[in-house]
Every structure is written in structure tokens, then in C-alpha cells.
């Protein structure tokens, strides 16, 4: 098994204006996702949701600035670290991952040689 990070990139504004009903559905979808991953034979190692980019602080060198690195319509809003057999399996999991206001990016975790 190998590890992949699933980055959830969505339109934050859509969340800010969503009704409690919609937010409830999103939560439900994420709870369901955990079960679905297990059914594929994969495993969620960890997962977190992030506060919106309005709370971000960027640092480059010594310069500290308010806001994210890049202002984009769809921003990183959460992630899952998962275990999968190969990229096809990771993509299968990625397709199940809820992201109704955007999409997800699947990145393999780098493995370093044990010297």
C-alpha cells in the first residue's frame, strides 16, 4: 500500500452562503465517505477541514502577509491522507470524496530511502 494526499479544493464562498440544510448534507457525505473508502479496501489515515483562506497568514522569508499565497476561486479547504494500492485505487477513492463546490487533487506521498 502507498499513501496519497487528497486535497479538497472548493469555492469558499459557496460554503459561506450555504443553508444549514446543505451544510448538513456535506457533513453526511463526509461521514459516508469514510465507510466507502473501507469498502474499496483503502484506509483513511487522517483527514481535516481547514478554516477559510481569510484566516490564512503567509510567510515568505521574513515577510508576513495577511491572506493565502495565491488568491484563487477554488482554495484548499481540507484534506484526507489515505492508503491505497496504486494510483488507480487512489483515484477511485478521490472520485468518492465529497467536493460539491469544486474538486479534489490526488498527490502521492514521497517515500524517502531508508539510508
Amino acid at each position: 500500500m502507498a499513501e496519497y494526499l487528497i486535497l479538497i479544493c472548493e469555492d469558499e464562498n459557496a460554503y459561506a452562503t450555504a443553508t444549514p440544510d446543505v451544510l448538513g448534507q456535506v457533513m453526511e457525505a463526509h461521514n459516508r465517505f469514510a465507510k466507502q473508502v473501507e469498502e474499496t479496501g483503502g484506509k483513511i489515515v487522517s483527514g481535516r477541514a481547514l478554516q477559510p483562506t481569510s484566516t490564512a497568514t503567509s510567510i515568505r522569508g521574513d515577510v508576513v502577509t495577511d491572506g493565502p499565497f495565491a488568491e484563487t476561486k477554488e482554495a484548499l479547504g481540507g484534506f484526507y491522507l489515505v492508503e491505497a494500492r496504486d494510483l488507480d485505487h487512489a483515484l477511485e477513492i478521490g472520485k468518492l470524496c465529497p467536493a460539491r463546490f469544486g474538486g479534489v487533487e490526488v498527490r502521492p506521498i514521497m517515500v524517502f530511502d531508508s539510508m
Binding site: D86, L87, D88, A90
Partner: protein, 446 residues
Amino acid sequence: MTSSPAGGPPDDPGPSTGSGAGTDRLDAAGAVADAHRREWAFVLAATARVAGDLDLAEECVQDAYVSALEAWSQQGVPRNPGAWLTTTARRRAIDLLRRDTTLRRKLPLLVEPAAATPPPAGQLAAEEGSGVIPDDRLRLIFTCCHPALAREAQVALTLRLVCGLSTAEIARAFLVPEPTMAARVTRAKKKISAARIAYRVPGAAELPDRLDAVLTVVHLLYTTGHTAPDGGSLVRDDLVDRAIRLARMLHQLMPDEPEARGLLALLLLTDARRATRCAPDGRLLLLDEQDRTLWDRPAIDEGTALVREALRGGRPGRFAIQAAIAALHAQAPSYADTDWRQILLLYDLLGRAWTSPVVTLNRAVALAMADGPEAGLAEIGELERGGRLAGYRYLPAAKADLLRRLGRRDEAAQAYRAALELTGNEAERSFLTHRLAEVTAVQPGS
């Protein structure tokens, strides 16, 4: 899937085509070149599984071809050159892996069932002894055309790994600087190992989509060669021949896939016209101007037979339908006497199997032949307003032709100029310039 090369391992070259003590070096060189063309994919695919790394596998296969020249000059060409080369390349890979621990630490190519370490010598010897080396060519091509790789990377990897072309050759074929192409190939190979794209043939559920990607790459290779995007000659024979060879290989390896059969049929039927597509001065000749007696009849017969079988299963896919259209053209005694009604029906079928504005444009041309230029022009006008074919050179070219046939010369001239602005191929430019001169010439009595 396995195949059983008939020849023995290198220690036992068996009866050879060479006579007595050795083969002429020239014969050996010819046999090596031939084996490069025919066997590269088989040898590399089987070696990659053992090497666990595409770069290492390529290096070992190159070495095997180099040593073949020497060995075959002295001992004669083995009965099964592919098996000889595979055995030599795989032994070299195992040798290097045993000696070099840093090679072993690389992320191994993901082969199922999992083989994290090189197979024990015993297993390899057993495979060689039985004369059965696993045929991994499908694994190789499905890996090269994995949807997680960009289309241009899929094309480059297929040419490099499945066809054995050098980076310089691929760069030339696609008019890209060599360092750019080298970077593209390196990046794609890195992604295969870092993201762990598995070295396997997809399962039944994914197969239709994945096969479509593979066939699309082969078709793209063909069309790039069929009308080179730029430059002096209309056709790049090398690319066209590679594409047909790949299509044939896929059909042989997946004989039950109607779309693999359909693609081979389409390429054979289209390519049957190759010799007649240009006038002696290099100018493009359209279907209605081509000398049909010079079309390649054996290729047409083979393609037509394949189409019939591909259509038999019902619900034909896009390649089979396009092949059926090409077959109707190939069988027609002349352009005017083509079964345009039937072609129109096939385009309707194609439009349902594959939504593409290019299909709509081709249908409009067929419609113009069946119902007159105005009908075709109306459809092209609608396409133009939709804007999805903006920048596609064959739209203004088709429009210009219909306007010309209607005698609307000023509008035709305008469309020919628009087409010329989008066209880089010399043969096509020469054709359009010729037509433009015709419609702008002063008419007698005007």
C-alpha cells in the same frame, strides 16, 4: 496472456538462418534492425517486469540489441530473435540489480501479483526453459496511455517505449525541440513510478474507457502522420506505418475487442489511398480527384472484412463506424457515385456514439453530396455560429468548396483566405491557393 516464442535461450540458439560457422555481419545487422522493428515492444515489456523500472529496462534492452549484433554475426541469427533478446535483456537487468543496491532502492514498477524484488533466478530459468515468456505488451501500452498522463505524454511514451523510437525521432515527428521532448518523457516516467501507476491491463469495468484512450493515441499518431501539421510533405510515412503496426498489434492482442478491430480497419482503409493523395507536383488531391485505380486493393479488402466483423456485434463504436464510412468510399466507383445516403446514416450513428463538432462538419459535407450544397452550407453555418470549431482549418475549407460549387465566388474566396490563414502544411496550402486563384480569376464575359 502469454505467448510462446519458439526459440531456445541464448545458450541453445537452435537451428539458425545463418550457414555453418557464422552469419555475414551485414545479415546480422539486417536481422537486428528487423528485430528492433518487430520485437521491441515484446522485449521491453517483458524486461520491464523483471527490471522493475522503465529506465533500467530500456537500458538493458538497448544493450541486448548491441550484443545481438556481435553474437548473431558469429553464431548465426537465432530461430526466435525476440526470445533471445528478451532473455539477454532480462539477465542483464537481474545482474545489475544484484550488483547495484541503489537501483534496488528505486520505487519498483508496480506489477501484480506484487513482485517487490527481482524474481528468483529459478523462476526466470523456468520461464526460459519452457520457452514461454509472458507477453506484457498490453501492460506496457496501457501504462503508457494511462489517463493520469497528459495526452501528449501518452503519445511520447508510446512512441518511445512501445515503438522504440529515440527522443530525437519523436521530437522531429512532432516538431518539438529535443530537450522539450526529453523533459516530457522523463516527467511522465517519473510520474509512473512516483504516483504508482500500476503496470497492468485494466479490469473489465475500466477497460472500455482505458482502451478508448489507447486507441485514441494510436489514431492521433496516424492522423499526425497522415497530414503533417507543418512542413513540405503531406504524409509522414514513418508515423503512419508505426500507427498501423500498433493498431495491428492491439487487434492481435485483443481479438475480441470490436473497437480495436475497427481502428485497424479505419487505418487500413484510409491508408489505402495514400499514394493518390498528392499530384506529382505535391499538390493535395481531394477524394473526387484521386485516381481510384491506384488505391491499395489488398488493404481495402482486409479493411472491409474487418469492418464487417466489427459491426457484427451491434452497438458499434466510433472507430468501427468511421471505418464503415471509409469502406463505402473505398468501394465507390467514383465520388459522385458514392452511396451518400448510407454515409449520411452512418454519420448520424457516429454522432450518437461520439459527440464531436468535427463529426458534424463531416456530416455536412456528406449532406451536401446527398441533398445539394445549400443543405450542407446551412449546417456549416450553424456550426460556425456555435464557435466550437473556431480555428479548425477544415471548416472554412469545406465552406469554401460548397460556395465555389454554388458559384458564389466572392464568398468562396473569402473562405479560402480564412482557411489559408490556418494551414501550415505546404501541400494543403498549395491546394487552397490554387482554388483561390480559380474563384478570383476574371471570368470570360464579365
